[in-house]
Symmetry: C2
Subunit: 500 residues, 2 copies
């Protein structure tokens, strides 16, 4: 199957089987907003739970944080987002399209280009190094920086009303009005966080002190972030609202190189662990001119998407930039006293320093797309009558699968539903997500569970009630074998543990 087909097939299955819906679909949808249906919500939960497990539960040196989405506006001044987190926007004066200058088609400045305006074919000199991506016109507005942060207003304020009162009866220039308007809006302006990372810097001291943590240590957070992206693309790959999984790892200055190497390997390995094709993940070091202003080095974990290799996670060596910026803007000392280190300046034991930071920044929604693409399979086979038939399945890693085991009564009578429910109950007690399902014929149920990635089905049939056995069907091989009901829970738990 060719790659463009794969994307369309995954999008179609995602909607059909309750993984991903367009947000507010009955209202025509909302640009780049998505809702996760029953299966997608579980898949996302599982991805996020695995990340949290590997970051927080299985480690002694990382703790969690769960901060508010709306933070003090000074946070975004200190971080540089207010000044720098923007795209250059241009309006085409010919066709009225608004576009990003840095993503527009390149041409040679001063060259003659052809375009259409109101149906007429025209030629004109390009006075910039790009033209309109829609009509090719060089007739363009000035470039304007467009900040990607969503702005809103906190508190019982009515900025529009206040502005109207202020402007009433006055004839002013656009520039004067803009300044008055910004002055009215400024005191109440807050932003939706464009990343979760800043909360870990802002709460560095509270977290460190409340748990007496010793450097090196990390703070991990998961949650929604918001970017008012001009270009949204590739389904859930780039959207305005997305779910991040970020960790800030605070280290002793001078040790950041080793820790960056450590975390790039850790993170690459984490993605590969749940994949059918680990070779589709790779690391790419950023070139010097790609690095963000705060980073001294950075690696991307890239995935081979249908459109080629592209970003999945960034692991940046952020130096002490962020803590120092917040110390400067807040007036608080955000340094750390290390009683075991020798101060290089005085030669005495005990050293105060501002830690350096390594940041693995992952996107849960992007990871969900990756694992759907990784898992989607079609197999050519035959149906019961010997006709050619395509089997669609999601080869999701058992730890990510929304349902671990489906328990299916062959028919809805003869005590089979009761027996199946008793089995489900046993699984749930030990924390294994099992699902009772008696909807439609057994073949259709298998097909449905193949499509949502359920690794195992247990079928209760007539024999179950006689000899206490059920059929265990494997999603990937479709092989079936009989196992004892009494051993079902342990068998599935062993299979889950074996999957790693």
């Amino acid at each position: 199957m060719s790659d463009p087909d794969l994307m369309q097939k995954v999008i179609s299955l995602a909607k059909r089987r309750g993984f991903v819906f367009q947000s507010s679909e009955i209202y025509g949808g909302l640009k780049s907003c998505y809702d996760y249906g029953p299966m997608g919500a579980e898949l996302k939960r599982n991805i996020m739970a695995e990340w949290w497990r590997s970051m927080v539960y299985e480690r002694e040196d990382i703790v969690g944080l769960d901060a508010s989405i709306i933070m003090h506006p000074k946070v975004w001044q200190a971080s540089g987002h207010v000044a720098n987190f923007s795209d250059p926007l241009v309006d085409c004066l010919a066709c009225r399209v608004r576009f990003r200058a840095d993503k527009a088609p390149k041409v040679e400045k001063g060259s003659e280009v052809a375009y259409k305006k109101e149906g007429k074919a025209l030629r004109a000199t390009a006075n910039r190094s790009y033209v309109c991506p829609a009509c090719g016109s060089p007739e363009l507005s000035e470039e304007r920086r467009f900040n990607l942060m969503f702005r809103t207003f906190l508190g019982p304020v009515d900025p529009v009303g206040a502005l109207a009162d202020k402007l009433a009866g006055r004839s002013l220039s656009a520039q004067e009005i803009r300044e008055i308007a910004e002055g009215e809006l400024a005191p109440a302006t807050v932003y939706l966080r464009p990343e979760t990372a800043q909360a870990m810097f802002v709460q560095f001291e509270n977290v460190q002190q409340s748990l007496s943590l010793k450097v090196p240590f990390g703070i991990a957070q998961q949650g929604r972030s918001f970017r008012n992206e001009v270009t949204v693309e590739h389904f859930i790959f780039r959207s305005c609202e997305f779910e991040q999984m970020e960790m800030e790892f605070f280290v002793k200055p001078g040790t950041q190189k080793e820790w960056l190497a450590y975390w790039t390997e850790q993170r690459l390995g984490w993605y590969r662990r749940f994949s059918n094709r680990p070779e589709d993940f790779r690391l790419r070091q950023h070139a010097k001119d790609e690095l963000a202003h705060y980073a001294e080095d950075c690696y991307d974990v890239e995935y081979r998407y249908p459109w080629g290799y592209d970003e999945l996670e960034g692991i940046a060596s952020r130096t002490d930039y962020d803590l120092k910026q917040h110390a400067k803007f807040s007036g608080k000392d955000l340094s750390y006293f290390d009683p075991a280190e020798t101060d290089p300046a005085t030669g005495k034991v005990g050293r105060r320093y501002v830690p350096y930071v390594i940041e693995p920044a992952a996107g849960a929604t992007r990871a969900l797309l990756v694992y759907l693409l990784d898992a989607y399979c079609e197999e050519q086979g035959q149906d019961a009558k010997g006709e050619a038939k395509t089997r669609v399945l999601l080869k999701l890693h058992p730890r990510l699968a929304p349902i671990k085991v489906a328990v299916l009564p062959l028919v809805r009578k003869d005590g089979m539903p009761e027996a199946a429910r008793a089995i489900v109950s046993e699984f749930l007690k030990s924390g294994v997500k099992a699902k009772y399902d008696d909807n439609t014929a057994i073949g259709k149920r298998y097909a449905r569970h193949d499509e949502v990635g359920t690794p195992w089905c247990l079928t209760v049939d007539g024999q179950t009630l006689q000899d206490g056995t059920v059929t265990l069907r494997d999603r990937d091989t479709t092989a079936q074998r009989r196992i004892k009901v009494a051993e079902a829970r342990q068998t599935i738990q062993d299979l889950l543990n074996r999957a790693g």
Copy 2:
């Protein structure tokens, strides 16, 4: 301990032990925004996981959803939030305070009241039924409806710039400017959801069809909601950003009374299950004049907070109001065809209807406050020297406790750390949140784990390496007994299961 003390003590412990911090504290904090530290993040996760388990995993009839926070603005027109989700705000012309008219001190209209203005004692006639809550003045601005939804702008738009261009060089009245401004802002305006519920109505059809669900069934969702509250109070009780746990249960018209009774009992029981004082939770039916416009009946689960009984969760019988509103505003048919029902109009089998809805709407952040209050204990005892000493502990239910079991090497040598880490490792493999802790003296570690609510501590000492046993200490009784390392995991799991 008196109740006002309790609140202050819980707030203090919450900060000291990493449960709840003020958001952006180094910048002076942000009104009513809170961050959950390492312990608070885990407590919140556990509360939310227990809700999800009881709603989604343990039931055949409820599935999950995880929708975007920004939805199509028409959703909030259909739901009534744009028109009605507002408070009446008034400015005091004497002292400039802005306040809610419905919460202001009541006086008799036309009566003479005393107040102060710029230091002068004045008297005037009250021409409304309330006065300023700050200075008592009857000199007040007009009441203005203030919508509680946070408004922001989606897409590459610059509403201030566009407005400035439009108003430049024109002298207009405040009313005219307001209309032009609203016209400019309207096309890009979106809102942060003030509740998660509407996504379940908007995605009703997608969810129902993708899983072939049969009424009665429910859709559950957890996530952040935002309300620009004028009055924030009682720590995290009422804040502008909070975490909801809502479930919409779709039922056959005519059965809503039974289902409302069922869900009120379920939800009350759920809260009590994790409490030390189940009697502090009660149900209260809404009076007719309290009911929201969409509700035909409603119960609150109330808790006895330090300031008295107050709301914890609302369970509303919402009729078919929401689905019908969204059908009307979207032009989509949001009815359900029930093949097993007889149509009362035609007498034929098969009936199409718009389901009625029962909604248990809980707040995870409010539940977190309740369980902190419920768990906080002080015990008078003696220290090793016989001096009076107060032991502070959080008697959190083991399922809610951030750490289930702390594993403590008595000293940091003689192989004890290695033995302790091996035990932690065993716990983590079976999904029990264990924590290795070798920080400070053993007594201090016990005290710290008492304060964060860790129900059990396992201490590795010299004897462990000789006979393979550890000390098991109980948080609530402080009793200690020796158990075998090999049986530690099973012992703790049994204790967890026994706790329910």
